[in-house]
């Protein structure tokens, strides 16, 4: 009997102790972390962390380029026809609505990227790694932050100026800063970036922002600030780097086999892997290419207008970027020879822009072709713009004529008139920057030529308020302190 009781007790005690076993191991037990991500408290420690975080900033270039920064820069000029996509058509017809997806895309990609740069800029200084390395990485982040603020002010004017790391407790209702404040912040970013960025990267790092990128953007920012001399200084510094030159032929910039050329100041890096593809080849390739036997089907979304084609001076070498009925093209990625058909069969306008159409046979019509975001020829024209404003017309025309010479066109005579000079610069830009990122429309709006251009070229009346795009409605809904641009209410 006693034995039974004893045994019972033993069993009871052992069971009871089991009951509390996991209380003892509580601390470890609850400590789990996600499998697919690195928690913040384990991050910002090593060189790899900072590399990864800075590389992450670059990846937003892909979305920016594929999204709004090229289409909004091209379509409002009316130099293009857009097939079937309503948001695109609305840009052409100047129906800039707060719900336009392309306009929204600019806001979205810019702030996504700015938040990433802010994190790097906030965290890097405290990291226990080599100071010189940190300085370069910080400079990259600052240069890119400035670039995205440039895109924002070009599109919307003054925007919320977010320079701190954002957390769950940050102010969810920031106000729009005056454009001058944003420009000043950009000047600071670009100046600091230019100081620390290398003029050239090694072969493994080509494609990152450089001193030249920062200087060009600094010069551009000074154009917005109308500080012409400061701008001129930037472009003089850029020239002094000696890194950049115009390629002999305009079309060399878009060669499929040749990327990050000497003309490239900032280039969005695409590759043949599915995550970093570009799909422009199918946007610009004509619809009948697939039927004609091209290995990749094309959707035929954007076509230049006849008007744009006709604006070319005779002998302009840049005519090569266009294809018209009867003309042939050998697609560089597939060696497919395509002959364009007329009467709207290939393209509604009977003009095809070929520089982005490489005929890469990857699935879903994607290609790894890089897309230029900032190029030396643009820098030259910004330089010319600054010189013209500073009254140095001869110097300005000298710069314009560098572009014309490359296009195999005769030099333009110097005209000592600001309006004429700016018009002449924009005339080159129209062809030179055809459907490029942060392209012609932003040049027209910055130089206040958009209204005149649309009237003269397309007989379209443009309201003054359309120099800026509307703030996306979704953001107005979320941020009660955000104000819409005038004219859009």
């Amino acid at each position: 009997m006693i034995k039974t009781i004893f045994m019972k007790r033993t069993i009871s005690i052992s069971f009871l102790s089991l009951l509390f076993v996991f209380i003892a191991c509580k601390k470890d037990f609850m400590n789990i972390v996600p499998l697919d991500a690195v928690p913040e408290n384990s991050f910002w420690k090593t060189k790899e962390d900072i590399d990864g975080a800075v590389n992450g900033i670059y990846s937003e270039f892909l979305s920016a380029v594929m999204g709004g920064t090229a289409s909004t820069a091209a379509l409002p000029t009316n130099d293009f026809y857009a097939n079937e996509i309503q948001d695109m058509w609305d840009l052409i017809t100047l129906k800039f609505t707060a719900n336009n997806g392309q306009i929204y895309w600019i806001w979205s990609t810019c702030y996504t990227s700015i938040a990433r740069t802010n994190r790097v800029i906030a965290r890097t200084p405290k990291m226990p790694i080599n100071a010189d390395y940190k300085a370069i990485k910080l400079a990259e982040a600052k240069c890119i932050r400035g670039y995205f603020y440039y895109t924002l002010i070009a599109a919307y004017g003054g925007v919320p100026l977010i320079l701190d790391e954002q957390t769950a407790t940050s102010d969810p209702n920031p106000i729009r800063a005056p454009i001058a404040d944003v420009l000043r912040a950009m000047i600071k970013d670009f100046t600091e970036a230019a100081a620390d960025l290398p003029a050239k990267w090694d072969d493994n790092n080509v494609g990152r922002v450089t001193k030249g990128t920062a200087l060009t953007l600094l010069g551009l920012t000074n154009l917005y600030l109308e500080d012409w001399n400061a701008s001129i200084k930037c472009f003089e510094d850029l020239e002094a780097l000696g890194t950049y030159k115009l390629l002999p032929n305009y079309m060399d910039q878009f060669k499929y086999s040749q990327e990050n050329t000497q003309e490239s100041i900032l280039e969005c890096q695409f590759s043949d892997t599915p995550e970093s593809n570009n799909y422009w080849q199918s946007f610009f390739g004509p619809r009948d290419a697939g039927d004609a036997g091209a290995t990749s089907a094309t959707w035929g979304i954007f076509f230049p207008t006849q008007k744009l084609l006709k604006s070319l001076e005779p002998g302009d070498d840049r005519r090569k970027q266009f294809l018209t009925p009867g003309e042939k093209i050998t697609l560089p990625a597939s060696n497919f020879v395509y002959t364009m058909q007329g009467e709207g069969k290939s393209a509604k306008t009977d003009v095809v822009l070929t520089k982005f159409w490489v005929g890469h046979p990857a699935s879903n019509n994607l290609s790894g072709q890089n897309i230029l975001m900032l190029k030396y020829s643009s820098a030259i024209m910004y330089y010319a713009e600054a010189l013209a404003h500073a009254g140095r017309f001869a110097d300005a025309y000298a710069q314009i004529n560098r572009i014309r010479t490359r296009a195999k066109l005769p030099n333009k005579a110097v005209v000592n008139d600001l309006e004429t000079c700016i018009t002449d610069i924009n005339k080159e830009r129209r062809i030179e920057n055809c459907f490029e990122v942060n392209g012609f429309w932003y040049d027209l709006t910055r130089t206040k030529q958009a209204k005149k251009f649309l009237k003269e070229q397309y007989n379209i009346e443009m309201d003054d308020y359309k120099y800026l795009f509307p703030i996306p409605q979704s953001q107005l809904d979320l941020d009660k302190n955000l104000e819409q641009n005038p004219g859009y209410n």
């Binding site: 209380i23 609850m30 992450g56 938040a115 977010i162 892997t273 979320l478």
Partner: protein
């Protein structure tokens, strides 16, 4: 059931008893002027004896005084019942009290013998058999037999047994009376499962409803939630038509924007129910108020459903075979135009839009019609085979069940099959030590098709198709319309849905699940029980999706120039360890029970997908490494830790008090917000036990209840929302070689303040049993406020949050309503019947959305025309759009109406209800959009009836809901000849021929156009329909073969039945089916061609060997 089972067990146990307990134990008692019942309870407390008696024939309320000092039980009982007519019979620890059989001795006496069995033919031991109105009688012996002698003529025998309905039989001139007693399933003595234990229904102070599961094995269905449909007040279950689809289950409304699914507890362990086979379920108990659920703390806010699987029963081996098989088909088709009608309408529309009519439709009469609805649907089938073997002895009881279930869906290429094995054991290792296990393994294979989807839903595509186009070309290949039709008329988005289902659904999904619950139970000291339960859940599943190389429709991106071979595998594990200590003690008229426990859970889930494209072979099945393969994987981990306790106090059998509390920690939350505390309290008063109620004879039992408590919910959100994390994305390219570089990007912006959603619930109710246990009534009022909803709040993009969302606790939702249920058992001569009915009202209101954050607008994916909004002061997920005001009949009407730009006669007119200044401004604009109704019903109900007459039985279940609205998105297609998704034309309802075609022709359907007239198809009340319905969910007629006959064949019983599911549906809803199953509360009630519920005819047989 449980009690009866215990008695059976005890009865058999006694057969094997070696030593007699009564001869080895002595008792000491000293009680003065107490009821005999108190004495019996004291004896039960002080010894292992327990008493079985029928209080209606044994007087236990008699006051007695007793004094015994270390005496044998027989001496105590002799003293206790001295001078009464009570006799006792000791069977080891069981003591049966009955009235003395008396000898009337008047010469007119007669004898009666017989046997008492339950409905399955098992003999019942210890049934009290008495002359009605007297205390004269006996009890049945171990084989269920009884015999009574010297009975007067023309009297009535009353057979009663705990847990069973009492039966009265007139003796007449019979000498042998065999009786089958039926379970009194609604009786107050029934035991129900509550968290970590059971409780007598009569002693419940919380709101718990038990769901009848008897019929589950006979109703075609693959998931156990079917049993909830229309069967329990407070529980709404919406059928899903997909083969193997699970119902959407909501207990007392919708309380969060996130996960509203109840917590399922299967044999003590929380988990999913998809693997369970309906016929393996013994009982389902739904815990609804906070008093009942708070013991499950942080997981309980959506209600708890406790599922107990079938257990073996001690006794003879029982073999049961249940088989049913049948056919199913969709019960409704939309009345689409045939080829002739469509062509005529299309021609008219073309003319109206200034197009040239399609030459192919020049002679509408000559066109042959394809019924595309028929083409994508078929007569499906259901099959179910279940074999179970059970039995046991006093040491071990066991049940084994094997099931195969197959459902071939009504939409082509969709099916589901599942094998289930269940093995349940309980082993009494020693007098005070018991072990048990409940183990299930199941395997399912399924093929699913896209439905409820505007762009590639099977039915959706089918109704759009041109009826003059055949499914197949003459050469047997699929007719790809784009290749033949004139693109001007052809809608570029629609594609041959038969081809699509054929090409896109060559995949199978499969899932294997092992689920085990293992427990040990030790009686430490008298009244103190220690139980340890280990739950193990291990599942793996995956899919194989082989899409061949084909070209169906190159423009729609439905072409597959490269074939693809996708394989995915996933693996999940969950371990739960529960330890509880349970102590109960009765002191005089005070009963106290205490439960203390801990629970810990550890879970993991991993998956891996791999894909290869461009295989040279369309026959090769696996993504072999020689092909370019891509693979990826991910997973998640979970941890939780809990402490809980319950105190239950019953005083004088009248006042019931219960406290529950639980502390829960979840690894989802930051350490300082990790613990949540969830207390509750309830009070019940069995008013019928009061003296002043004694005179109210029709009331058997009446109990008033009230409870208040706190529960939580964490399941609305996944991951670890409190930590900021960085994920790796390979997407930046650098260098002359264009190498991809890994990049880190913020994956989540952590919010350390995130914690549990918390819910406060108040409940008042009563339970009544009336008219000799024939009528039960139960009513509840509930009021619950869920606050701190876990939501992903959209934040401005300036924050740079991934997906532009941050997890926060924001908002507050109120749900309140009344539940009422009743059931009645009755009989009319041989016709026995029962009716039960329940109704639940629902009021759902968003009280707050957490400050200024906007989480009140959800635009339907792909759809800018109609919003579903959640806004303060309204119920969750209301539809939002314009109000139509007929059709403009003429130019004058247009000029006299609020401005709608660009309209002409025949276009839709909308109401001007508001403007920028808060009043109508004469312009139809965004300001004129308003709330158009809620997908949440005002009330829902169920009516279930059953009956039996001789060998026949029947049952019928009706379910319904009232007052909810459905957003019928398909109206955008079936009323609009302009293709909804693209240019071109698509088929419409026959009814569209009544479109407006001149003044006075129509005030509902706008003019026919081949162009898209945006104005006519704005999101408006045109798409909103009443979703009320009444549905005959199940109708069953059964025939049980006479026992004599089946016994000859060596069988115990055989029953054949036919069952019709969804026989009829009364509804005004014009779509396929008013039951819209969608687990997302902010998108519920949106019908975009969902998989319709089918009508199923089955024939079945239940055989017992």
């Amino acid at each position: 059931m449980r009690i009866k089972f215990l008695i059976l067990l005890a009865g058999i146990y006694q057969l094997f008893a070696i030593d007699s307990y009564s001869q080895s134990n002595r008792l000491s008692l000293n009680l003065k002027n107490v009821t005999a019942k108190t004495v019996l309870t004291q004896i039960e407390d002080k010894s292992q004896f327990y008493f079985i008696y029928d209080a209606t024939v044994v007087d236990v309320e008699k006051k007695v005084s007793i004094e015994s000092d270390n005496e044998f039980i027989t001496m105590v009982l002799d003293e206790l019942f001295e001078g009464t007519n009570v006799i006792y019979k000791i069977n080891d620890r069981q003591i049966v009290l009955t009235p003395k059989p008396i000898n009337t001795g008047n010469g007119q006496s007669k004898s009666v013998t017989g046997q008492v069995t339950d409905k399955t033919g098992n003999s019942l031991h210890a049934v009290s058999v008495v002359l009605k109105g007297t205390t004269i009688g006996t009890i049945t012996d171990l084989t269920g037999n009884y015999s009574l002698t010297n009975l007067p003529e023309n009297t009535i025998l009353q057979f009663s047994f705990i847990g069973m309905s009492t039966q009265l039989v007139e003796i007449g001139n019979k000498t042998m009376i065999n009786v089958v007693l039926l379970d009194k399933t609604t009786g107050i003595d029934e035991v129900v499962a509550i968290g970590y234990g059971t409780q007598k229904k009569k002693e419940l102070s919380g709101s718990v409803v038990s769901v009848k599961t008897d019929n589950l094995k006979n109703i075609p269905g693959t998931s156990i939630d079917q049993a909830l449909i229309g069967h329990a007040a407070g529980v709404q279950a919406i059928q899903d038509g997909n083969p193997g689809g699970m119902a959407t289950v909501r207990i007392r409304g919708v309380s969060t924007m996130g996960n509203n699914d109840p917590l399922w507890i299967i044999d003590g362990i929380a988990g999913g129910i998809g693997y369970l086979n309906p016929s393996d379920i013994e009982s389902m108990d739904v815990l609804k108020d906070a008093s009942a659920t708070a013991i499950y703390g942080a997981r309980a806010a959506n209600g708890v459903i406790i599922v107990t699987t079938r257990q073996g029963k001690s006794g003879k081996t029982k073999v049961e075979l249940n088989i049913y098989s049948g056919v199913q088909k969709i019960w409704k088709k939309l009345d689409m135009a045939n080829a002739t009608e469509f062509a005529a309408l299309a021609n008219q529309a073309s003319i109206n839009s200034g197009w040239d009519p399609n030459p192919a439709w020049k002679n509408p009469e000559s066109l042959k019609t394809t019924d595309w609805q028929d083409a994508v649907t078929k007569i499906g089938s259901v099959q179910n085979y279940n074999l179970s073997v059970s039995g046991g002895n006093e040491k071990l009881i066991s049940l084994f069940s094997l099931t195969y279930n197959k459902n071939v869906g009504t939409i082509i290429n969709s099916d589901y099959e599942r094998y289930t094995i269940l093995l349940n054991n309980e082993y009494q290792a020693a007098k005070s030590l018991k072990f048990g296990s409940s183990v299930t393994y199941s395997r399912s294979n399924s093929e699913s098709v896209p439905t409820n989807n505007g762009t590639n839903g099977a039915l959706n595509q089918a109704v759009q198709m041109w009826p003059d186009e055949p499914v197949y070309n003459k050469d047997g290949t699929f007719n790809i319309l784009l290749q033949t039709a004139d693109p001007k008329y052809y809608s570029r988005i629609s594609t041959n849905p038969v081809a699509q289902l054929h090409y896109l659904n060559n995949g199978v999904n499969f899932n294997s699940q092992f689920q085990g619950s293992f427990f040990g139970q030790l009686d430490l000291i008298k009244g103190l029980k220690y139980t340890s339960t280990l739950g193990v859940s291990a599942g793996n599943g995956g899919n194989r999706n082989i899409t061949p190389k084909y070209v169906s429709d190159p423009v729609n991106w439905l072409n597959n120039a490269q074939n693809s071979l996708k394989w995915g595998l996933n693996e999940g594990q969950s371990y739960t360890l529960i330890n509880t200590l349970n102590y109960s003690k009765t002191v005089g008229l005070h009963f106290l029970s205490i439960l203390l426990g801990t629970e810990a859970n550890k879970s993991s889930y991993y998956f891996m997908n791999t894909e290869a494209r461009n295989s040279p072979s369309n026959i090769l099945q696996s993504p072999v490494s020689a092909l370019t393969t891509e693979g990826r994987g991910n997973g998640s981990l979970g941890r939780s830790l809990s402490y809980f306790g319950r105190l239950n106090y019953i005083c004088h059998n009248k006042y019931i008090l219960q406290f529950n509390t639980r502390a829960d920690a979840s690894a989802k939350f930051s350490p300082h917000n990790r613990w949540g505390y969830f207390p509750s309290a309830s009070l019940a008063w069995r008013i019928s036990k009061e003296k002043f109620m004694k005179s109210v004879s029709f009331i058997d039992d009446l109990k008033l209840r009230g409870s208040y408590g706190l529960t939580g919910n964490e399941s609305s959100i996944g991951g670890y929302p409190y930590i900021t994390t960085f994920g790796i994305v390979k997407s930046s390219v650098f260098g002359v070689n264009q190498q991809g570089s890994s990049t880190y990007q913020v994956k989540n912006i952590g919010n350390p303040e995130v914690k549990w959603e918390s819910q406060k619930m108040t409940d008042f109710g009563f339970d009544a049993t009336l008219f000799h246990n024939s009528l039960n009534v139960k009513a509840d009022y509930y009021h619950k406020i869920t606050s701190g909803l876990l939501v992903q709040v959209p934040v401005p993009q300036t924050m740079g949050a991934p997906g532009d969302k941050i997890t926060k606790n924001a908002g507050e939702v109120l749900n309140s309503g009344v539940e009422f249920s009743t059931n009645y058992d009755g009989h009319f001569r041989n016709f026995k019947y029962n009716v039960d009915a329940n109704i639940t009202t629902l009021k759902n209101k968003v009280l707050s959305l957490g400050g200024d954050e906007i989480i009140n607008s959800v635009t339907l994916a792909n759809e800018e025309y109609m919003d579903v909004r959640t806004a303060v002061g309204r119920s969750i997920g209301q539809f939002y759009g314009y109000i139509t005001d007929g059709i403009f009949q003429n130019v004058t009407e247009i000029s006299n109406s609020p401005i709608q730009t660009g309209v002409q006669p025949g276009d839709r007119k909308y109401k001007d209800i508001n403007g920028p200044d808060g009043k109508p401004d004469g312009i139809i604009s965004d300001y004129d959009r308003t709330y158009l109704g809620s997908p949440i019903p005002k009330f829902y109900y169920g009516i279930n009836m059953g009956g039996s007459f001789k060998y026949f039985d029947f049952s019928m279940s009706l379910q319904g809901q009232y007052g909810n609205k459905i957003l019928n998105q398909m109206r955008a297609q079936v009323y609009n000849i302009h293709s909804w998704h693209s240019d071109g034309l698509s088929n419409v309802l026959k009814e569209v021929k009544n479109s407006w075609s001149g003044e006075g022709t129509s005030n509902t359907i706008p003019r026919l156009t081949a162009d898209f007239i945006g104005n006519n198809w704005l999101g408006s009340d045109f798409y909103i329909e009443d979703g009320s319905f009444l549905r005959c969910r199940s109708l069953q007629i059964g025939y049980t073969l006479p026992k004599v006959l089946v016994n000859k064949a060596g069988l115990q019983s055989t029953r054949f039945y036919i069952n019709i599911q969804n026989l009829f549906t009364i509804t005004n809803y014009s779509g396929y089916d008013p039951e819209i199953s969608n687990s997302n509360p902010i998108r519920s009630g949106v019908d975009w061609g969902q998989y319709p519920v089918s009508r199923i005819f089955t024939l079945g047989v239940n055989v017992q060997l």
